[in-house]
Amino acid sequence: MDLMEKNMELIEVQKLEGHTDRVWNAAWNPVSPILASCSGDNTVRIWEQSSLSRSWSCKTVLEETHTRTVRSCSWSPSGKLLATASFDGTTAIWEDLGDEFECISTLEGHENEVKSVSWNASGSYLATCSRDKSVWIWEVLGGNEYDCASVLNGHTQDVKMVLWHPTMDVLFSCSYDNTIKVVWWSEDDDGDYQCVQTLDESTNGHSSTVWAISFNAAGDKMVTCSDDLTLKIWRADISMMHSGEGYAPWTHVCTLSGYHDRTIFSTHWSSDDIIASGAGDDAIGLFVESKQHDSVNGPSFNLLLKKEKAHEMDINSVQWSPSKENRLLASASDDGMVKIWQLETIP
């Protein structure tokens, strides 16, 4: 199906009100119709969809644990645990007990603001990053114990986001130093994590702060977004890594520019290959790969649609729902709102 040939529209399904400050991040539970959002009001809100009315409402507010902004949140692959990273320097782990959430562990170690947290595909490792320029890898030991497995000091400025690869234990981080770093743990090496690749301006990378990273479902393509007002697509031959032939480097595929005129804070690649972007110009962009494959210039991506004034202020996060039945997108903004959108075909 070629989406570009259809008339698509992003319809606002519901506006979730409750946060009293800017909302930094939204995260869909991978298993259940639940959305978490975190904010400058130091809280996390858990929103649940009613199976009857299909409408979303705030089920619970996680508060009085973080003492400063909660910058990001991430569900474990099982959907049972939620990790929250805060400017208070800690990362909290919450367990969904059914009728309530309990903070079962607090990860301390970063010198200052923690900006992002990510679980690996199997849920056995966590990564966190901070303004202290470091990336920490935590091993999930069971019994609510988390042990620091490694501290990586590759970036020269604060690290904005960490994200594990969707299928392999390879960690990606992006930074205020304009680079993306790839960290790989190789069994046959000395058993340590090491940075195997840095994507910077010399490799067609970004020329300003890189704010976010996302992968396609197969994990052989990646999108990054930046203060340089561009989105960049990268690819790697991951079959080479899966077959144990060693590290396959990531190369630049194309740059999407001219679609946003303020910093692009967030990007997310959906399971059916639609890339969403959210930016400081209050707009959401949606992009798809062009079916007309250009053998000279390689793959290209086209704007599917741009939703201007999606929010009243900067958009900090856009996230596609993992649900296969409909294309839902959550967005979070400085205006204190979380919105749920549905991508629909107009007849």
Partner: protein, 158 residues
């Protein structure tokens, strides 16, 4: 006495006369008046220098021309000129201007703050920091920085 001041003897300039903004042709009190350069300058001219008992206007860190505004696009850019090239207070000045504008302007406004080209030794780094909203948000949760910014925004020296 050893002075810890970065700029011990700043030049102090006269403050500009305050113009009263009247528009006699506009008699409809419900009409929306666009936000203009002077209005924005009025919001920030009296911000106090972090080091001296003078306003940013008196030290010519800010002039009316520091303000570029496009009300239709809800965009403002303020370009300030630190009194010395190595001014370590430039971050506090930039933060103070941003906080004052965030409190004064409608939330639809996009605000860029920068130092005048060539006016500061670490111009690019400073501009990047002042316009990274995550760094600004974190700074404004830091009690020491908030105290310094509040000091600059206090009207007490009038």
């Amino acid at each position: 006495m050893v002075s810890g001041l970065i700029n011990e003897n700043p030049t102090v300039y006269e403050r500009k006369e305050r113009r009263v903004r009247t528009d006699s042709t506009n008699s409809d009190e419900f009409s929306v008046e666009p936000i203009d350069q002077l209005e924005i300058f009025d919001h920030i001219r009296d911000i106090r220098d972090p080091e001296h008992p003078y306003s940013l206007e008196q030290l010519k860190v800010l002039t009316e021309d520091s303000v570029e505004v496009d009300d239709l696009k809800s965009y403002v850019r303020v370009t300030f000129t630190p009194t010395v090239e190595h001014c370590s207070m430039a971050t506090i000045i930039g933060l103070s201007v941003r906080v004052k504008l965030m409190r004064s302007l409608p939330p639809r406004y996009k605000i860029d703050i920068r130092v005048a080209p060539g006016s500061h030794a670490t111009e690019a780094a400073l501009n990047k920091q002042l316009n990274d909203k995550e760094r600004v948000a974190a700074a404004l949760e830091n009690p020491n920085l908030v105290e310094m910014v509040d000091e600059c925004l206090s009207p007490s020296f009038e």
